[in-house]
Amino acid sequence: MEAVNRKITKSASTSTLEGLMQSKDSSVTQEPLDKDKLAWVLITPSILFLPLVLGDGYYINVMNFIAIYSIVALGLCLLLGYGGQLSISHSAFFAIGAYVSPIICLRYGLHPLVAIVLSQGIAAIAAWGIGAVVLRLKGHYLAIATLSFTIIIEVLIRELDWLTGGLEGLSSIPPISLGGFLIDSDWRFYFIIWSVVMLLLLFGLNLVNSRVGRIFRAIREAEDIASLFGADVKKYKVKLFILSSVYASFAGSLYAHYINFVCPAAGSIMFAIEIILVIAIGGYTLLWGAMLGVAFITILNEYLVALAEYKRTIYGLALILTMLFFPNGVLQGFKDFARILVQSLKKGART
């Protein structure tokens, strides 16, 4: 009720010219109350204040990894959940970010921030090259083509040992520093990484609720019809692929400068598949769902160390259960459940 009142006063206070344009029912052309935005405004400060309440501890380390993987998951969620393009190359782009930035840093002695920016440029160019070729393909064929790219990157990382350190990887990667302030502890990194995640999430939320987001969803549903409305489908697919891949490589760069060490495991195929799995569990048509999935799997990973050997079995089981009970992901399932609950409560109140 309060929200409605606020809407009305808001529309009354707009200038007369706008008031005339919005003729009959001006309240409907106002932006609807954006629940995602509201959730963002509430959740962002609570995440950033969390360590101030709970203090230092191991959980900060876990939260940092959740943040890093969230960035990858957000990128894939945009591509797969909204654009409908299944790509198994996100671990490859994560690895590109995780290797290129330290290599620039260690070999040419550039500042880590400069190196991170440069490596995103390189990742974007790679994504453009790959995307322009493989996005001609659809469905399974696209998945297989991107998977081969992942395999190529994985092999290159192991074989080019003069550049990547081979199986030993790269160590003593300098941490990020902001004007002399070194981001070298879990505690300090926490604020940086979570600010980045929430900003990237906000960018994603803005994007999917806009002209461009509508075109992505249209492409997912029916490419040929989307092109009938003047959309250059191919161009949009490539752009989305680049954006999504840069999310992954950005996460990779931050990861490398955070743990100060990278090894070939960063680019493994299993990682690419895990990210898809995480999105399927959380809900691939919701950006929040992707993050929830990451949090769920990461926490599972951390606190079930004793069951490490059965990790994949547990993942598989979780996926099967999700698919059976929440085919659109856990978050969507919760939302539907809450809606049904509210409706039945209302009904109960009326009778």
């Binding site: 344009m21 919005q22 409907v28 052309t29 932006e31 960018f203 994603g204 803005n206 994007l207 806009s210 002209r211 461009v212 987001g213 509508r214 075109i215 969803r217 249209a218 549903e221 029916a222 040929d224 019809i225 989307a226 092109s227 009938l228 409305f229 003047g230 959309a231 250059d232 489908v233 752009k239 954006l243």
Partner: protein, 254 residues
């Protein structure tokens, strides 16, 4: 406005259209009728670039558009609806029309993701204009429903609204009244006149004879991919070729 010159379309030996020529004048509502399989929808597909004609040329506003692709056709100012509605099923009614505004607007990745002020203004314009087209098709009350959940008749209305929102000069309607009840059909007649009065030229494929005879000034009749008659509704109704195509010819039985 639109001219078809000796358009022929072959599908692997099957001649779907042979030497079809006709013209649609600016501001007209032109009908396109014929028995099933006569090639009516093929004409729409050829005009909108779904597949190019095998021979012949198509001119729109004196420009050759014969080989244009669908995404370019929208930009020249031709929009269409389908025999079976092809809506974006998971979109709301409103979003379907908003998508139609796509190429008339220009906010791209960063403008949308960072919500530049001008992109916000543009988005508000898209919402308002979309709502305007929904009002015109009597769908404004249902704007937040999922498109797929609408009854068939309203899905057809929505397709028209979405096609209109691209601001076409020429609108191609493929059997707009099939699946409409009598009340909706009458209402749709008024809507067609409203659309024409907006300055949009219409080419309508139709099976509903009473409807097409009451809205069109001129009608083209196709049979087996060839044009067999063209003229006013009265002329068509009295043309022996048309009667033959629809009712068949009497055969003498010995």
């Amino acid at each position: 406005m639109l001219q078809l010159n000796r358009v022929t379309k072959n599908f692997a030996g099957l001649r779907a259209l042979s030497n079809v020529s006709f013209e649609v004048k600016e501001g007209a509502i032109k009908g396109l009728i014929g028995p099933n399989g006569a090639g009516k929808t093929t004409i729409f597909n050829v005009i909108t670039g779904v597949f190019p004609p095998s021979e012949g040329a198509i001119l729109f506003l004196d420009k050759d558009i014969t080989l244009q692709r669908p995404k370019e056709i929208a930009r020249v100012g031709i929009s269409r609806t389908f025999q079976k509605p092809h809506l974006f099923k998971s979109f709301t009614v409103w979003e379907n029309v908003m998508l139609g505004r796509h190429y008339r607007t220009k906010a791209e990745f960063f403008a949308c993701g960072l919500r530049y002020p001008w992109a916000k203004r543009e988005e508000r314009m898209i919402r308002e204009q979309g709502l305007g087209y929904l009002r015109m098709l009597r769908l404004a009350d249902k704007r937040d429903r999922i498109a797929n959940k609408l009854p068939m008749g309203e899905q057809r209305y929505l397709e028209v609204a979405r096609a209109l929102s691209t601001e076409p000069r020429l609108l191609l309607l493929d059997e707009p009244t099939s699946g409409l009840n009598d009340y909706e059909t009458d209402q749709f007649r008024d809507i067609l006149f409203e659309i024409r009065d907006m300055g949009v030229t219409l080419l309508v494929i139709e099976h509903h004879m009473k409807f097409i005879m009451s809205v069109c000034e001129e009608i083209v009749v196709l049979n087996f991919g060839a044009k067999i008659a063209e003229g006013s509704p009265e002329e068509i109704q009295h043309s022996p070729e048309v009667i033959e195509a629809y009712l068949g010819v009497e055969e003498e039985i010995d």
